[in-house]
Amino acid sequence: MNHCTSCQKALEGSWLVCADCGAVQSDSTIDFFQALGHERRFGIDTAALEREFHRLSRRLHPDRFARASAEEQQNSLAATALLNDAWRTLRDPVSRLEYLLKLEGHAVGEEHAGKGKSAERQPPSDLLEEVFELNVQLEELRMSQKMGEAADGAVVKDLAATGVRFESMLQAVDDALAAESAKWDTGAAEARTEAATRMIQLLDRRRYLQNLVRDVHETLGAAA
């Protein structure tokens, strides 16, 4: 529970502004969930959160403090930046997931794999064969592009088909993430730890797949 720096009443909803006296809070330690006055969980109602974002923007935005003191202007600027950072991070399911895991003390992405050898560069073991095949196709197409030759229609078709397969894997990862995050939201401490561990692995797999899908689209785009 946090208290208003101005009127000392307990803050309800967003911790960025006192609902009672209207004072903008100058506390840079507020996390993104507190900023939007939302319970710390994965499952959120994005439309409702957007309405709250707009409501808070009207209260906090520097435009509303153009005639205020320098200190109030500074508070408004810092609070609005935090509000915008919060909404930007929480509205997207993946960045929300990563943020919440970090907030819960888990190492995500580069932090747990180590810089430069992040898991997104190492193919998941069950995909080794398919990734190898995909890379051959990509290389073939890039070579012909480099030589200025017309792309081999069969290779393009194969690559497009592989792309679709990897996209469906990506979708499967997203579904799994949604299931695990629901377990985290409703589970007890032990279930949460297990869900978090699985989500961190799923996120690695997701990053890897996403890079592959992007490569496929870029190469196909250049061939088109």
């Binding site: 707009h54 923007s57 009207r58 935005h61 520097p62 435009d63 153009a66 005639r67 600027l77 810092a78 609005t80 930046a81 935090l82 915008n84 950072d85 909404w87 930007r88």
Partner: protein
Amino acid sequence: MEHIVGIDLGTTNSLVAYMQGDVPVVIPGVDGSNLVPSIVALDRLPQDADQASGAARPTVTVGNSARRALIASPERAIYSVKRLMGRGIEDIGEELKFFPFRIAPDVQPGEVLRITLGEMNFTPSEISAYVLRQLKRNAERFLGVPVKKAVITVPAYFNDAQRQATRDAGRMAGLEVLRLVNEPTAAALAYGLDRATDGSEPTRTVAVYDLGGGTFDISILKLNDGIFEVVATNGDTHLGGDDIDNLLLLVALDEIRMEHGVDLRQQPDAIQALRKSVIEAKIALSYDAVARLDIELPGGQRYQREIPREVYEQLIAPVLERTAGPCRQALADAGLTPEQIDEVVLVGGSTRIPAVRRLVDEIFHLTARGRKPHTELNPDEVVAMGAAVQASILAGSSSATDQLLLLDVTPLSLGIEALGGVVARVLQRNSTIPASATEHFTTGVDGQTNVAIHVLQGERELAKDCRSLARFDLKGIPPMTAGMPRIEVKFLIDANGILQVSAREQRSGTEAQIEVKPTYGLTDEQVEAMILDSFDNAESDFAERQLIEARLEAETILSAVNKAPENGVWLLLSEAEQAEIFATRDHLVTVQSSRDLKAIRDATTALDQSTRRFAELMMDQAVSSAMRGKTMQAADQTLNENSVEIHAPHPFAHAEIDEDAAIAGGEMRKRQ
């Protein structure tokens, strides 16, 4: 009441507007025109100037009057300076090919540019400050009170340095810049004014296509219950009507050389005169199927050319096509298809070109969906009107705007240079501003007390391909084992789109000192030194000053008009026109010495209006004499013979009077 004005500082034209009650209104200059051409000309320095006092700033002419200097003394005049704002010598190569910018010879890469006008050098911000000061004076004249605060618009795709240079210009002009607003967003505000803010309308998605004199922006916004939320923006800060002018000019120069064996390329005055003709042809081609060029060349030959619209459209197609890429990128960034765009707003003078409208129609599938773009508001004025709306939002002064809120984005990603010259992204483009990001740094050597950080803006992977914003030195780090210090650096982009940086060492809790060296910016001290006439802000004698200036203004135009009949061009006027001029002149003479400010000004305006055609005839004469290929010296001599001492009629509003009439007066002075 204190007024906050909205200013559109354009590449070609600039405007100032304010909220009159609940309606944004553009403020005209004394010549009745809402547009002040963004042209600045350095007046001739007085021969016996008191250099020792050092107090006197050079006097300059701004707007329509400076337009004549472009032809009469091109080495003392400059236009389209917005293209140089916040840029360095190493990234203006393309501009120098097409624009007569004379860069001071000693400017080094990485430095703020300086432009030579006559015998002096100016930074782009200073040149812009002269334009802003003129707008400020126009507003003060119109409103009758000092104007000190402004909202200034910038292209949405302006980077940090370009924004800072614009804010600096405002400060130099004696204006407190309360906010920089993106031009397409301002246009959306101007259009959105009449819409419901009671939540009764569903969210609408709007694209603003803004093709101005020198810049192109595309912004996609969601409008919901009075909140204008930009979801994506893109653009090109060096693409606009200027590029079309240059294309037409190059074609004409080539043809004149090939067909008539006349090379005009080394004759700045002739080029400017030709440029004026091709711009007129360009404007005509937005309405007519064909435009004609008919220009007298040195030696009496004539360059005559018909330009059919189809030929013109083929010629400019590559320029227009450059706007399509940014539009598609903005749609992709917003995650929208063209069909999901409910409305398209056209902004900027270049959107009058039919080919531009066709392109926009294709990009957003408008006709196919039975839709038309918004063109109801004057595309030259809509940005200034939007700036006035934003000014009103900041002032909290109008019930029409108190429910409106603008949420804009940063157009370019922010990054820092990492090992190997690779850019590590800190903030993605299209993040709603204000926005912040925190990064951690450490040391690589035991006892290291400094860490250098290079901040960049742009979308490319390598630092060398992005825009260098600033280099920071984090100083005063307590000596520790390598890798031990944990320095937290906070990047904050404010509501103007301008970056602020702060840092602290977390283990010791010491605030690390930051020395910000903006790559293309001016220091506070430099800006202070460039502030134009700070006395301008003295409020006490404002009314008296206005009266004195109005009288001076009247005197200047009267002296010009009194000598007008001695000019050959006078005979081209009809008797009725001449009589009208004498009548308005006599009226001004009778009110001139009164203390009735409004009467003096109204009479001055009336006289200015009645001499409009005379001024135009004078201008045409100047153009044709330039085209006849006089050399600079000869032109100068002619001017001196006619004694064109283009002194400001007074230091307050000299561009407001019809400058051509003032020049006419000047020309007659020596003949007496």
